[in-house]
Amino acid sequence: MELRVNGVRKHVEVDPERPLLWVLRNELDLTGAKYGCGEGQCGACTVLIEGVAQRSCITPAGSVAGKEITTIEGLADGERLHPLQESFIQADAMQCGYCTPGMILSSVALLRRNAAPSESEIKQALEGNICRCGTYNRIVAAVQKTANKMSAEAKAGRRA
């Protein structure tokens, strides 16, 4: 089957029932998506399918063939980090960092559908993502800061 990952077409010979997480990690060496529970409960394996956050550990690879898949490795624009990646660093919104790719991608999906989320909207959107190190409040702050920054930039862009 053909997978479109981070803008690149990849041909893989795999059982279509095999979870996308393991195809990404073990066939394509994209290890940014993490295993945490295997039942869609922790969000460490989150990737974007056509811009929507999805749990790759419970997504059969065959179900997303031909769709645009974005992993954390594909988020930065070359050396330029995505604003959320910048904000996570600035807010020190991680400890071990194992949940970070999933947190960032879930937040990317949130900001795509809601450019100015409230604190409770952020918490609700990220409720399925676990950070065992407990940096939750920092993550909320990072997402809020990014939203403010992006909307300020968008306004500036409209004025220009």
């Binding site: 393991w22 998506a33 945490g36 529970c37 295997g38 991680m94 071990c96 960092g97 990220l126 920092r138």
Partner: protein
Amino acid sequence: MLEPVSLPASRRDFLKSLGGGVLVLFAEGAGEAQESGHGGHRREREPLPQDIAAWLHIAPDGRITAFTGKVEVGQNIRTSLTQAVADELRCAPGSVKLIMGDTALTPWDMGTFGSRSTPTMAPVMRKMAGTAREALVREALQKWGVARDKVDVADECVVNRKSGARIPFGEIAARIDWTKTVGREDCVTVPDKWTVGGTSVPKLNARELVTGHHKYPSDQTRPAMLYGKVLRPPSFGAKLTSVDTSAAARMPGVTVVHDGDFVGVAARDEHLAQKAVESIQAQWQKAPQISSKELFAYIKSKKEGAAQGNSAEGSAKALRSTYTIAYIAHTPLEPRAALAEWSGGKLTVWTGTQRPFGVRTELASAFGLPENQVHVLMPDMGSAYGGKHSGECAVEAARIAKAAGKPVKLIWTREEEFTWAYLRPAGIIEVASAVSPDGKLTSWDFHNYMSGPSGLESPYECAQNNVQFHEVDSPLREGSYRGLAATANHFARESHIEELAVASGMDSLAFRLKNLKNERVRAVLQAAADRFEWSKKKSTPKRGYGLACGMEKGGYVACCAEVSITRNRQVHVEHVVEAWDCGAIVNPEHLKNQVEGAIVMGLGGALFEAIEFADGRILNDRLSKYRVPRFSDIPKIETVLIDRKDVPSAGAGETPIVCIAPAIANAICSATGKRIRSMPVLPSFQA
């Protein structure tokens, strides 16, 4: 340059690749294979090397590499230990590369636990780097013929203040025999003079983490690597009576390993490995096991002695209470993982562990190898919280890899992590106490059964003071946890102190201050109460306020909590203020992050985390069944950090966790009058 597919470097190759410098190899006797059979106890107190060469390397091109056997699990010691080295070398943290937890490259280390990295490892790194700085300076002084006060150290150079001449470290370093240069305490910079230490240096590898480029233990790969899987018994203590692996063995590309009770497979991908292990037909003989419902009756049946209470003569009130503590799981988001590779009789293992040298000993012992034939590497991992001291996954991966003749990666499933790792011990705590009519503690008799002795000592002044820990065999596999039993002991102590305050008709804060002499506990308690505006808080049935304080491992902590309670007894922690003193602060932002994280983790154990088990199985062995704190559980958190530059830094990864549970229990009681004496509190509160 090393080929990318070659095995990780020995210390000799690694130092060669850096260039220059004297090659220092750690002495490892041939007799170690025998001695490693003693479970590694011999090595528990191995003396640390005193020469700088073991800890620091400055290459001719100026590259600075430091070495520590400690490991990074999210607590940010990669950053803070680098700060220590950079501070002493008067350079930027970004100029120092820190090699951690690599048994071939770093000095031996007992392990990363017990909040020891900051109080014990940072001083070593400082001593070595500070002595190195002065050795470099001495060379420059000789060349220039000037006195020490005529030179500075900056930008990885020694600078002649008068002439402005500079000699880069790299140029001087090769002239010094670092193996003969012993670290000296008098070269260490005191906290008052720190320039890199004491500042919020951002996490050094944060960019690697947010881009997904960092390779955690479970992300490691090797050429021709296979994926391993282990056949697990259906229950604890079950013995394999018969097994048929023929279906698995017939699968193309599958290797089966069967050795005693151990049955594992290796396959070209994890999907096939899973299918192979599922095809194995096994019969097990089960052994009777107690269940979580019987747990406290079991502990009571095994315990000897009881809290008698001391003489309560002249006391206004005497109290007697029993507290229970459930087993909880660390639930690190990255489960155990290991990649093992055999080559020419040598074994190399990448694995997530807090004790890479301990795991090396385990591997050497399991395979009858001298320790110098085993190389363990610990890439910065997806957390541990005290839960990854052991090397069982590494041993399993190595067993399968040996049979398969190829590198094998094994990642435990979440269910395996819940079931076959170890837990924070459960326990029972009995307290008998008395207070005088004016609210002075007169008697304190405190007995902990099974959960552990950490944090047992009371900070309260009391003439008749008796605290004891009683060992009881744990029915489930138990081990270390963030703060160990200090959380359980603080829960019981601070709940009981609150009961005494209520019995004395005194305010929680006033009662504690009246009975506390320790200045540092008093200071954090006052600081937390002030920030929280404790004196203005009055509990109502729907809103409760509670506080708690304590000390452990050189850290002093106080916590104020506000909880909201609904009519159907749902509890939400709304606001937490925690004051924390661990001596001189190394990195304020990272310290704040640790304190916040400890509060969040502690909140889970306080409110709802509990392992349920029956018939030798963990019943809630998944994240859909075992609740951990999520975004919706998180309160507003404020931290008050007290920077004591006059006191050496203590560790901060653990003790900030100990007060949140009693603060919450006290807040619930203050609102509802219901005293919950079991941790977690919600099951009893809602019952």
